[in-house]
Symmetry: C2
Subunit: 305 residues, 2 copies
């Protein structure tokens, strides 16, 4: 964690593109000939972001999904992707390619190129390129008085991971939440014009909400009782579990009706879970009663093993 | 090798972007709002593409340079880059960041974003985005009757790698050719409108020339005696050594004078080393006398270790 913090701090002192948003956002925005491209690159590493026993097709799905989740949070539709692939075992690679075909077709994401290399460990990268239809919300736009919203349910993927780590692969719905996250592309496109700030929940609801608070220089309060928790997940661990790939966003109260209309149109729960006020940092209440923050808010940085 | 061939074949059956050039080129071309973006993603892996003992700043340089070399071969100027970085040892990471700063400044390449992850091995990826000033030459445009040209000198990097592998780190000029390749960006910009096909020499002059022949459906003959060999390198091994990151291109005979003018303007040798004719495959002559092709033409695919 200290390492990553220090490294990213060093990166911020490099020549940074104006569209990089000071490397504080999920994606970069590149204005080209009147169009606004959104660019993101995420890596997943075996033993860190996926389990050695995860089916290769699910790993392919996850690699695509985690990157498209960043595009979703910026209100961009997918344009194309570049793959960085470490070749290993032939059977695994074949199954991965089949899963990649499925994921690319599911999200209408054509392959633009990439690189295949030999490596002693699977470290897979994907660069996803999207085009924004309208405004591109950042993490830093939340204003005091805004409401905090989240899509879908929280904690299902974390519960699935815990099951897998304990040697169980049931219930299938939770395992699937971990292995086959669904990037909220349609919701992102519709919410981007309504949101003051938006990101995806990849490292944990609490830590990611704290990141919006820090970037926006506001205080964010979350009502734990309001958070929609996936069936089979425990509330306390769910909010720090990560891998949900739901949308977390703030919007002014005046947008509430429009947000509920998006929810109804897509059949996707959008739930108000908190609010932003002047100040800084994250706080937690339960039905109005202050709660101490848990010691661990989410994944600061994932260690191998 | 069979593995990579099979995997790339599987990738070709995926949904492919029209700008991906059937995954047969060094980079993809994305038309956006009247502009032509050129995109490439290359990975380098410790023990495969660089040596565990290589200075971290040189590894950073190489990661940037090998990607910009692809942009150079497509006549694109750098716009920005996304980094996929595997965190490891703090001192190494600090030195890498310093080297990255130097490389980004040297090539006027601002950082757009990326990802840092934990991993048990260093597997570094970079996506470089460029903008084409004019036509974007592919590998497939060579015509019978064209001349084959190469920039700079061949074999210096391979000789440097052989020295390092034998425990020597001198002469410094050859070591530098291996660790600090110079992408031919200025030459690429000026040659793109003149070339019928262009790529960079990354895997070896012979194997890469064979790729132009295959993609263009022509036969290519190289005159071994004409190839400009770096001082300190052996002619026979130089032409299959790889890591040169020089430009290899074909152009009609009528372009010869313009090509020589580019060479003079940039102070960069551009040497005519062969020609394309009807047919297929690669052949080698020396002062007009046919030579058998060596068994190994270059790096088909690099194995760890």
């Amino acid at each position: 964690m200290a390492l990553e913090y220090e490294f990213i701090k060093a990166l911020r002192e490099l020549p940074i593109h104006p569209g990089a948003r000071q490397l504080l956002d999920d994606a970069a925005v590149l204005e080209v000939g009147g169009a606004r491209l959104v660019l993101t690159h995420d890596m997943i590493v075996e033993g860190v972001h996926f389990l050695p026993g995860d089916p290769p097709a699910d790993v392919a799905w996850k690699l695509v999904a985690v990157n498209l989740s960043d595009l979703a949070a910026k209100g961009a539709r997918p344009v194309g992707a570049l793959l960085g692939y470490t070749l290993g075992d032939g059977d695994w690679d074949r199954a991965f390619a089949a899963g990649l075909a499925e994921a690319l077709a599911a999200f209408d994401l054509p392959l633009l190129g990439g690189d295949t290399v030999s490596a002693p460990v699977r470290a897979l990268g994907l660069t996803a390129i999207g085009e924004a239809a309208g405004p591109v919300p950042s993490r830093s736009g939340a204003k005091a008085g805004d409401q905090l919203w989240v899509s879908g349910e929280i904690g299902g993927a974390g519960a699935g991971l815990a099951l897998l780590q304990s040697g169980s692969d049931e219930p299938a719905a939770l395992i699937r939440r971990y292995r086959r996250p669904e990037p909220r592309l349609a919701a992102g496109l519709r919410l981007a014009p309504l949101a003051s700030a938006m990101m995806d929940v990849s490292d944990g609801l609490l830590i990611d909400a704290g990141r919006i608070a820090a970037a926006s220089e506001v205080s964010i309060e979350i009502d734990l009782a309001a958070v929609p928790i996936a069936g089979g997940a425990a509330r306390d661990s769910a909010v720090a579990a990560g891998d949900d790939y739901e949308l977390l966003f703030t919007a002014p109260p005046a947008a509430e009706q429009s947000i509920r209309a998006v929810s109804a149109a897509l059949g996707l729960p959008l739930t108000r879970i908190g609010s932003a006020s002047p100040g800084e940092g994250l706080s937690l209440v339960e039905n109005g009663r202050p709660l101490p923050l848990p010691e661990r808010l989410g994944w600061e940085h994932r260690q191998p093993g």
